[in-house]
Symmetry: C2
Subunit: 105 residues, 2 copies
């Protein structure tokens, strides 16, 4: 069950990944699940939230820019990114953000 | 059709709204559509992206913090927020972020 993360008091960082899939989704589901499990053990990882309808949005939360960079450069994740760019996604955007404020119920 | 926005060169701002709906959704769909149309005419609005499955994620993009604040305080939007908090959502979080970097295809 997806949930909304309890993140620490800001500032911390968010990576907003928005994507539109191509028609070539060989191995996509397995690899997405593998990355979802792998990301959870990365230093500085604070949680992530995903939703998908016409487009997909995944937001991951991080302690600092260094941990975002380390995850971007992780060997297995790099391979997945290459495959995503060449095959699985027709469009995507990655936005790296500093979370300055949060509130909610 | 949902699309991924062409946003300007950073820095600009993002508001990440993650939510879980309650079972009380009277007038929700009409009001959500009304807000979606209204937000597009707000000063400093740069676009938004939405996806919804187990949770809902809407990310809106803004020129600066002042335009985010003006939209938060817009009379009709304030009423919708009150209704959202009391009725439509069981949980939500709003995260206000400075977008520092973006890339994609």
């Amino acid at each position: 069950m997806e949930k909304i993360n309890q993140t620490p008091k800001p500032p911390y960082y968010a990576v907003i990944f928005t994507s539109i899939k191509s028609d070539h989704l060989e191995n996509y589901a397995e690899e997405a699940l593998r990355m979802e499990n792998l990301v959870k053990s990365q230093p500085g990882y604070l949680g992530h939230e995903s939703a998908s309808s016409e487009i997909g949005i995944t937001v991951s939360y991080w302690k600092d820019l260094e941990s975002i960079k380390a995850w971007k450069n992780h060997k297995d994740h790099s391979l997945a990114q290459t495959r995503g760019k060449s095959t699985w996604y027709s469009h995507y955007k990655v936005r790296i953000c500093k979370v300055e404020k949060e509130y909610g119920i």
